[in-house]
Amino acid sequence: MSEFINENPDILDESLLPSRLEDKNDAIWDKNLNVGNLQRRLHLLNIHQTTDCKVYRNIELVDKLLSQRTASNNLHTPDLTDAETEESEYEEAEDPIDAQEIYDMIAHISDPEHPLTLGQLAVVNLSDIEVREKCDKTKISEVVVKITPTITHCSLATLIGLGIRVRLERSLPSRYRINILLKEGSHQSENQVNKQLNDKERVAAACENDQLLGVVSKMLSTCK
């Protein structure tokens, strides 16, 4: 982009961003490869190959899994039976999702005009994420993410919101209704942007626009 909409945004240092001390993802992605972890990865691989799982759409994750496969080739793991697969998925579904987990999914999204992430720019903040979780997994739960554009007339607010929505729709189980709102007073066309970001039909149509989807994919390519 030749002209920045906000030339000098405030930037947070990556190390100061909120994170879980012991991220549960470490069990999967942790550098200390041990037999247990590798087995776990292989299980995941098998799940991905045998089911049309939603996470499968996350190409990046699949790529990582595939790259781990070479490392784990010399380990013998019996094929999972259907029953075991279901069990593994069941276990995964048991993990409740909290605000930190949502934050981790979206904080690494790149800003469309700066070489920085939404977390670093404080566009997404842990305190502005709310999860209204129903204990019963057969019921609908809600996630509310309030975003703070770096400037109140940011014309990219809709694009940023769309990126967050696409990321969450791809990552969260179907039972979550995702509400993306601009933080009160953070934008001059707050209601207009909110309406657009939460219109499922417009979002669905946007996701069929190749050009727009290309931009969103680029924003999401920095997600961990």
């Binding site: 057969t138 019921k139 609908i140 179907s174 209704r177 219109d199 669905a204 149509a205 069929e208």
Partner: protein
């Protein structure tokens, strides 16, 4: 419980947006770009045909059968409308449906299509903020645009015709509903219904000849009934809010449908399918409520139909399923 699930049909790989039925056939439209036909006669529920899925390049958003015929119109996010037909002599369980026409004109996503009661007119609406009225020939192959109505200030989400008059209702992202009628050679806006506090997703006319009413549903999570009062002095029709239906929904309501027996059904983002009955003029009660009608998924469409001696409610959801419910009052 007066609602009972008869059949759950896994039809599409992505959102099922819309469905319609005519002459014992149900058509469904989906984000997976496919249109499928299911035989409802004898409660058979067999998938009988899948229409050529290379026709539309994007989601198929809306389907509508021409009354008393097998001609189907389908509106797509690719900005075109496809028209399909089969020989009425084809057996229902093995139809051979052909593409009859592709209608172009809208600038971008077509969001709704609907046939008038006589089958003479086809209406379509789009994100381009316009409603188009097309005149169709008897075979359904030729279409002439009679009018382009541009009074909505935002996307037009849905169009529906009155069951026995040439009166059209359009619902919009501008939070209003507009009613359109024929005036000499052209079509004009007969009334604007203001009141919803969010996108109006869908509306439907009462099927009675005795009174003229419309039900609408919105992103504001309400379902409202509007009543025609009289023709105003300036030629505009006067409509008034007749009732707000009991507050069942907690999120956007995407679809409403008025049955020929006077029941209203609604469904939406909260996964609830509700049926309301008017116990006295303007006073409605919920007579049936089905939570998680499509498990944890959103419900995009609800439609009444009658097969044999059964009143059925058809619903379509983001899970790609069409569910068939039996309603016993």
């Amino acid at each position: 419980m007066p609602i009972e699930l008869l059949k759950s049909l896994r039809l599409h790989k992505d959102k099922l947006w819309s469905l319609d039925c005519s002459k014992g056939l149900m058509a469904t439209a989906s984000s997976d770009r496919k249109i499928k036909l299911v035989n409802l006669q004898n409660l058979d529920f067999k998938l009988v045909e899948e229409l050529d899925d290379s026709t539309h390049k994007k989601s198929v958003r809306s389907v509508s059968f021409r009354p008393n015929s097998s001609i189907l119109a389908a509106g797509s996010f690719d900005s075109t409308i496809s028209i399909w037909g089969k020989d009425d002599s084809d057996p229902l369980d093995n139809p051979e449906t052909d593409l009859l026409a592709i209608i172009e004109g809208h600038e971008n996503e077509v969001k709704g299509v609907a046939w008038s009661h006589s089958g003479e007119f086809l209406a379509s609406c789009s994100r381009d903020k316009s409603v188009w009225i097309w005149e169709a020939d008897e075979l359904g192959e030729e279409y002439e645009c009679l009018s382009v109505l541009q009074e909505h200030s935002q996307d037009v989400k849905h169009v529906v015709w009155h069951p026995n008059m040439n009166l059209l209702a359009s619902s919009s992202y501008d939070d209003t509903i507009r009613l359109w009628k024929e005036d000499a050679d052209d079509w004009e806006c007969a009334a604007v219904l203001n009141g919803h506090e969010g996108t109006v997703w869908c509306s439907d006319f009462e099927k009675s000849e005795a009174s003229l009413r419309l039900v609408s549903c919105s992103d504001d999570a309400t379902v409202r009934v509007w009543k025609y009062v009289e023709e105003g002095e300036d030629g505009e029709d006067i409509w008034t809010l007749d009732a707000i239906l009991p507050n069942i929904h907690s999120r956007a309501v995407y679809s409403v449908n008025w049955s020929s027996h006077g029941y209203i059904a609604s469904a939406g983002s909260d996964g609830i399918l509700a049926v309301y009955k008017e116990v006295e003029q303007g006073n409605w009660e919920v007579v049936a409520q089905q939570n998680e009608a499509h498990s944890v998924f959103e419900v995009n469409m609800v439609k009444w139909t009658r097969v044999g001696d059964k009143d059925l409610i058809l619903t379509g959801g983001d899970d790609g399923f069409a569910n068939v419910w039996c309603f016993t009052p």
